[in-house]
């Protein structure tokens, strides 16, 4: 299926699109797989999303020009590793172009045989159930076969910078404060 709208009125340049969409904070997720030659494959996306609870589905979008996705697609299964905030260098390694991106990255095989990166915040094992070309990206829908919590807190990305989740302290209502100071 190819969904490409016939006409788009605005003249939004890729640079402007990047600038404004850069304001949207995202998690950082490594999509990993392993082929028959035991070569580990991986790519990093900021578009991994929950999709459906019943049946359990997830989705992500990947650039049409990605060189890793065509190789991963052939396997028809992947693990989405939600990266934690101490995995910035791992994220940089996997974002590189070319082979040997996986060199030296500690991981173990998940239930589907796909790599689970040590130290990720969560692991979602999936079988590809649908793929749609939309504009200049592929939208990939995965059917979840297994999911596990990992360790660490999630890595965030926004406006070209890595970051962490910062809890907002909700001011306690006056009554609660009074009660606490009285006790």
């Amino acid at each position: 299926m190819d969904i490409t709208p016939s006409a788009v009125p605005a003249d939004i340049t890729p640079a402007y699109y990047r600038q404004i969409l850069g304001k949207l904070p995202t998690g950082v997720t490594a999509i990993t797989g392993v082929n028959d030659d035991d070569e580990k494959l991986g790519l990093v996306v900021g578009t991994f999303q929950s999709l459906s609870l019943e049946p359990p589905l997830v989705m992500f979008c990947v650039d049409k020009s990605s060189s890793s996705w065509p190789k991963l697609r052939k396997l028809q299964k992947f693990t989405a590793n939600i990266l934690s905030d101490d995995q910035i260098s791992l994220c940089r390694s996997l974002s590189r172009k070319g082979p040997q991106k996986f060199e030296g990255l500690p991981c173990s095989a998940g239930p589907l045989g796909t790599p689970h990166l040590d130290g990720a915040a969560a692991y979602i094992d999936c079988v590809v159930t649908a793929e749609v070309l939309v504009g200049d990206h592929y939208m990939v829908v995965g059917s979840v076969t297994n999911m596990d919590e990992g360790s660490g807190d999630a890595l965030l990305f926004r406006a070209g910078k890595f970051g962490q989740y910062l809890p907002i302290e909700i001011p306690a209502p006056a009554e609660a404060t009074a009660a606490r100071s009285a006790s």
């Binding site: 999709l51 297994n146 965030l156």
Partner: protein, 171 residues
Amino acid sequence: MTAPVLERRRIDSDTYRAVMRHLPTGVAAICSTDPVTGAQNGMIVGTFASLSMEPALVTFSVMHSSTSWPRISEAGTFSVSLLAEDQQQVCRALSAKGEDKLSAVDWSESGWGTPHLHGSLAWFDCRIEQQFTAGDHLVVIASVLDMTPAEGASAPLIFHGGRFGSFRETA
């Protein structure tokens, strides 16, 4: 070659929620004005995402059972207000059930006839291109008619681990 036998574990909704809590998301308000009645409709999504640069497309998903989305989508054109960290009240107001949710928040009408919520980080005016069903959700694909950043820099609202928070740049 024999296919590996997959031990497919049934994933209940508690497991799904517990694991997906680890994924932080931005928070976006999807709003439109009913072309017939002139009333505003709005809802909150945690799944707003970039999709395509050329052409400019964005996406989000909504529960199949959503009562707000059928009303919002009636207009064909809608806005996305990307919420800032101090807009938790706006998030709550639009997450509530009921009519006329936008009466509780400040907004103004854009050139596209869509409501832009005051105090947001950026606004997108969008037109629905495609919708398809995936499990218990509907995936919406929309073309971007226009996109406007707010003046000044403020921090985004982030939903993570069942709580609201913001973004702290890694030193």
